[in-house]
């Protein structure tokens, strides 16, 4: 993985075609995994077909050969494909950018990549965009990848509110267990986030939480005394960064630590994403860790 050219998120955004970007990123990081990092699958026998030269003889059904003296291969298909639904936070705070791409742009790339990756392993993919309420829903389906990508492209950052409401409605609408990937900046107390996820985890869904933050949110590089405006509420606050930086960084560290602690148990897999980092590297870490967890379990 380290030998490959890292893909700058800003460069990926300029490409514009989400499907192309997603395929490119997936092909990049998949080669680094030791085994197929299926999010969740099972396979069953599908049918026999005649052997043709070149087929792997390991798939020859020797029982049939013994009875009929004809060479047939066994073929399988995934008859219990998993629903992978991306939950994308499109509140106004996700539109923040400090010199690079915005958090929403980064999250869109990540969502597209994960969707394409899931579809590649024949999972059903879906998408829900939400802010203070659910904006758009693309139900999980094996044929909905183009729809998901199109919806992602149209998503814009505006509005905002607590996660609890939208996530509760999403949990109510799901009939089948599946995997949910939540992409949000999680500007709520960790306990509130954990409570908001409870309807999903309680229903038996696997939840992957990807907290997306800009580098400026973690380093607070501002110099001049100025007024800060909340992107969601519009509230203003006079701040002298020089005097505030240390306290902010400590508060942010505490917030992230609390978030990590609150979301570390149960069926939640928590990751922190920095928009200045290469996307394929981030996804590789996410999927590799999940593969490790699955193997460990």
């Amino acid at each position: 993985m380290t030998d490959r050219v890292r893909l700058d998120p800003a460069t990926l955004v300029r490409i514009g075609n989400l499907e192309l970007v997603a395929r490119w990123v997936v092909e990049g990081f998949i080669s680094g995994l030791h085994r197929s990092p299926h999010l969740g699958y099972s396979t069953d026998f599908a049918e026999h077909r005649p052997y043709v030269p070149g087929d792997d003889i390991r798939h020859v059904d020797w029982r049939v050969f013994a009875r009929t003296e004809r060479t047939y291969l066994k073929t399988y298909e995934a008859d219990t494909n998993t629903n992978v639904t991306v939950l994308l936070d499109v509140s106004a705070s996700m539109g923040y950018a400090h010199g690079g791409i915005s958090k929403l742009q980064y999250a869109k790339l990540a969502a597209a990549t994960l969707s394409w990756f899931s579809r590649r392993q024949r999972d059903r993919v879906g998408l829900v965009t939400f802010a203070e309420e659910v904006r758009e829903i693309v139900p999980p389906s094996a044929r909905h990848l183009p729809h998901v990508l199109h919806t992602l492209e149209r998503a814009t950052a505006r509005g905002g509110g607590p996660l609890a409401g939208p996530l509760a409605r999403i949990a109510q609408s799901q009939q089948r267990r599946g995997v949910f990937v939540l992409l949000s900046d999680l500007y709520e107390p960790a306990s509130a986030i954990a409570r908001a996820l409870a309807p999903l985890t309680g229903a038996g869904h696997d939840v992957i939480v990807l907290q997306v933050l800009d580098a400026a949110e973690r380093t607070f590089p501002f110099g001049d005394a100025t007024t800060f405006r909340d992107l969601e509420s519009g509230e203003r606050l006079p701040v002298t960064p020089a005097a505030m930086r240390a306290r902010y960084l400590a508060a942010m560290d505490a917030h992230l630590t609390a978030m990590r602690g609150a979301l570390s148990g149960g069926r939640v897999d928590y990751h922190l994403i920095d928009t200045s980092h290469p996307l394929e590297r981030v996804l590789f870490d996410v999927l590799a860790r999940r593969e490790f967890l699955r193997t460990a379990v």
């Binding site: 923040y96 950018a97 915005s102 001049d224 909340d230 969601e232 902010y248």
Partner: protein
């Protein structure tokens, strides 16, 4: 270093803009967008922090860029005119001859001259004395000082005049100043356009040895373009009514430069536009325009012909006086009735001649009042007039035409009148006789041509016993027409009569001009000019026409409204015209007297803008010394504007501005970029 446009330095005030923006805009700028204020606390900036410059280097670069931009617009000039006058420490007597003639009104010339003079003043060292001499047709030392402020103050009040150019008076004044000065170095700087028509230097126009001369030509390289009304003539013609007179005004227009088309010319009388014309004038050409006849007022009124304005003002209008000329009043005395002379004179228009006919025996001294000329038509002497009175009349300036014809007789002419006729009345000689020779250049007969007059045959003649003043002789050599002066007057004596007894001359076409010419000559009549050139000296009597009424003091009002006194004691005898326009002269102490007008215009020679090589002046004023002093006399020093144009220093300053802005851009980029919101 100097500056051509120092006012642009006011732009330095713009340096305060970045500072003010820092202090003012800082509080008003857009707030910084942030995803959430959840982790932030209110921490207002202390007031002292606002007074600190955010980035001193950035501010310095911006301030320098603004200052350099202001400097570039101020058009810096490197170097000073000090080199022109020499840079040693010796005390100098500097005489600046500044041309302020009319031609200096041409675009750029005066400003260049002022800038050069100012530069010379600025180059003065301690102990230097500078005398500023303004010259046109005359030269005048305006100020002599060692302090630049005094000199500059005098310079500020100067402007080009309407007068012509003459170099000799200026050089003479410079010589006088140089001779008086005891300074070890003497420098004469001539600032002029070196108009060729102003050249009047002679061998006497020399400066003392050791004086350095520096001519500075301010005419510039640009071609001259000017339109002007060069002259106006007014021709009187008889009107339709009895005794009425009309005038036809004609003007000559000139054009220096490209051809002009459809240019308007208007005739104004008493400030009102009377007629207008549209004319074309060829490149560097001239044309004439004639207006329709207009009524000629008995009293003088101001008038002018005006051309559409161009870049050179002052010569677009030609001022003149419009007035019916007073009639030439003549007393014709006849021994026997003869209509020829009186009728011929009455036919003349310009001047109009008013003839009073008297028989010889009936004429009295009262008939002489107001007369300019007495004509003895057939030689009969007016005994009632008396010989003494007639002689007195001539001595006081009157004219006498004595045509010694059939009625002339030595017996009838009194002895007191013998001074009137050279050698007395001669004997009558019968026999056909013609004129043999004639002085065609004499004004009494020159204009009519001698051919027709020489062909005239006379049945009898009378001898004139004189050898001087002969204008024409008979074929046998005897004097036929003689003129001589008597006192202030003139006497024309003829050896034949004008009554038609001895010849058919009165019936010939040439008789009218012949008699009119003789009358005008005897009266010493000359057409009063409708306008004068600036620089002319005009006596009130010249305008009045009669000397008697012009005695005393006259109050004069110039075109610009300036008042002065002319005539009488303690006042100049004549008015010197110094500005273009119409002067009004009124006799002092005569309430209700009508003003007599004098129109003045730019001298025609001054409108010839051809220039000469300034070195010619140096050679003329230095003589042989000019060869020796050649190294000390550099070519004409460029004006600050020309030096600035050559140096183009402002381009380099602009380049510096560009570099400063580039540096500013680099420095600005290194600063943290402001937060922005986008998707």
């Amino acid at each position: 270093m100097g500056l051509l446009a120092p006012l642009f330095l006011l732009g330095l005030a713009a340096i305060a803009v970045p500072l003010l923006m820092h202090l003012v805009h800082r509080e008003k700028r857009e707030p910084t967008a942030f995803p959430s204020l959840m982790l932030l606390e209110r921490t207002p900036a202390p007031f002292t922090a606002r007074r600190h410059l955010r980035d001193p280097l950035l501010f310095l670069l911006r301030a320098l860029a603004v200052a350099a931009l202001a400097l570039a617009f101020a058009r810096p000039v490197l170097g000073r005119a000090r080199a022109l006058l020499g840079g040693d420490a010796q005390q100098r007597e500097i005489v600046v001859l500044l041309d302020r003639s009319f031609s200096m009104r041409l675009p750029g010339r005066w400003s260049r001259a002022m800038a050069a003079t100012d530069s010379i003043i600025g180059s003065m060292a301690r102990g230097d004395r500078l005398t500023l001499v303004a010259f046109a047709r005359r030269a005048e030392a305006l100020v002599s000082a060692t302090e630049a402020s005094v000199l500059r103050s005098a310079l500020q009040g100067l402007s080009p005049s309407d007068d012509g150019t003459r170099f000799a008076p200026a050089v003479a004044l410079a010589r006088e100043l140089a001779e008086k000065s005891e300074a070890p170095r003497k420098v004469v700087v001539v600032l002029s356009d070196f108009q060729r028509s102003g050249w009047d230097l002679s061998a006497e126009s020399r400066l003392p040895a050791g004086v350095a001369v520096h001519p500075i030509d301010v005419s510039g390289a640009a071609s001259v373009s000017d339109r002007a009304v060069r002259a106006v003539t007014v021709r009187a013609v008889k009107g339709s009514g009895e005794g009425s007179t009309r005038a036809i005004v004609a003007a000559r227009l000139s054009n220096v430069g490209p051809a002009v088309r459809q240019i308007g010319v208007r005739l104004e009388v008493s400030g009102r536009v009377v007629q207008q014309r549209v004319v074309d004038i060829a490149r560097d050409g001239a044309t004439a325009v004639e207006f329709d006849a207009i009524p000629l007022p008995p009293d003088a009124v101001p008038a002018r012909v005006v051309l559409a304005n161009d870049s050179v003002s002052g010569d677009d209008a030609y001022h003149f006086r419009l007035q019916a000329a007073p009639p030439l009043r003549v007393l014709a005395i006849e021994g026997r009735p003869s209509p020829f002379v009186s009728r011929a004179l009455a036919l003349n228009d310009d001047p109009r001649i008013e003839v009073l006919v008297r028989r010889a025996e009936g004429a009295t001294a009262a008939d002489l009042v107001g007369r300019r000329v007495v004509i003895l038509v057939d030689g009969a002497f007016p005994r009632g007039l008396g010989g003494d009175r007639l002689v007195q009349f001539v001595r006081e300036g009157g004219g006498l035409i004595a045509a010694l014809g059939e009625q002339a007789s030595a017996r009838t002419w009194p002895s007191a009148a013998r001074a009137l006729v050279p050698g007395g009345v001669g004997e009558r000689r019968s026999g056909t006789m013609a004129l043999g020779t004639m002085d065609a250049s004499h004004p009494a007969v020159g204009e009519i041509g001698s051919g027709a007059l020489l062909a005239t045959r006379f049945a009898a003649t009378r001898a004139i016993d004189t050898t001087g003043g002969v204008v024409a002789r008979f074929a046998d050599g005897r004097a036929a027409l003689v003129e001589h002066a008597l006192g202030a007057g003139r006497v024309v004596t003829m050896g034949m009569g004008l009554d038609g007894t001895w010849s058919d001359l009165p019936t010939q076409p040439l008789f009218l001009p012949f008699v009119v010419n003789l009358t005008r000559y005897a009266a010493a009549w000359r057409a009063a000019p409708v306008a004068e050139a600036i620089g002319a000296r005009v006596r009130p009597s010249d305008i009045a026409g009669t000397g008697a009424s012009a005695v005393g003091q006259w109050a004069v009002e110039s075109p610009s409204g300036e008042r002065s006194i002319v005539g009488g004691a303690n006042a100049p005898a004549a008015l010197e015209l110094t500005e273009a326009g119409v002067y009004a002269m009124r006799p002092r102490g005569v309430p209700g007297a009508r003003a007599r007008l004098v129109a003045a215009n730019v001298p025609s020679a001054e409108l010839d803008f051809a220039t000469m090589d300034p070195s010619r002046l140096v050679t003329a004023v230095l003589g042989d010394a000019s060869r020796d002093a050649a190294p000390a006399t550099p070519p004409a020093e460029p004006t600050p504007a020309e030096r600035e144009a050559r140096q183009s220093a402002w381009w380099y300053v602009l380049l510096a501005v560009l570099l400063l802005l580039l540096a500013e851009s680099v420095v600005a980029r290194r600063a943290p970029a402001p937060s922005r919101v986008g998707v």
